[in-house]
Amino acid sequence: MSMNLAEALSSITTKATASDWRAAIRLAGDGLVAGGATTDAYTDEMLAAVDKHGPYIVIAPGIALAHSRPSPAVLHGGLSWVSLASPVEFGHSSNDPVNLVIGLAAIDHDSHIQVMGALAGVLSDSAAMTRLLAADSADEVRAELTAIAAAA
């Protein structure tokens, strides 16, 4: 059994409404704050990262990994999950529109490697992703992630 991503997620929101990519990233940031991982300043940092570098955070079709550097705004490592009711354009040349925003906060460059491994495993499983994006509640997402970890 591999690491259960449900345990690393401090917050899960499903079928959320976001009018644009900034609102979508804010939701992921709010999730990190709610889980105690970051302060609101980190959400601004995540937005600034996209303003500076472009939508490079949309790393696969439909999936955005919002994050910024380790900074004083990060209290401890955390992960938030926000699935969107309607897809949102981030301006990426090949991976738009986005259905899922994952918020990631880390205190340094290596302590969250295991979580990243579990995240990579889940996000690259397209059958699992279809089920996860269809989930209507946080409980459903948790149950699905737990099942995935048990089967791995």
Partner: protein, 90 residues
């Protein structure tokens, strides 16, 4: 062989890309050292690397480096990574 996986911040996307690149390299039987780096460190690291893996938005930011800059669109698509790395190491 030295490979640098680059993202803007050094904690997220470069780590994912490094993990998947390592999986692909192992399968191809290629001996390479993959380093995850953020933009600040990347330009320096890219001076001594053979290959730089990154996304389209960041490839421009890296600018002129002696390394072969490969753009990966889908960080989870092992086929895309395999195809591009295979072409690069030939």
């Amino acid at each position: 062989m030295k490979i640098v996986a680059v993202c803007g911040m050094g904690i997220g996307t470069s780590v994912l890309l490094k993990m998947n690149a390592e999986k692909v390299l192992a399968k191809l039987g290629v001996d390479a050292d993959v380093e995850a780096a953020d933009m600040g460190v990347a330009r320096g690291a890219a001076q001594t690397a053979e290959i730089v893996l990154t996304s389209e938005e960041l490839a421009e930011e890296i600018g002129d480096v002696p390394a072969n800059v490969i753009i990966i669109n889908n960080f989870f698509d092992l086929e895309e990574i395999t195809e591009k790395l295979t072409a690069a190491v030939q």
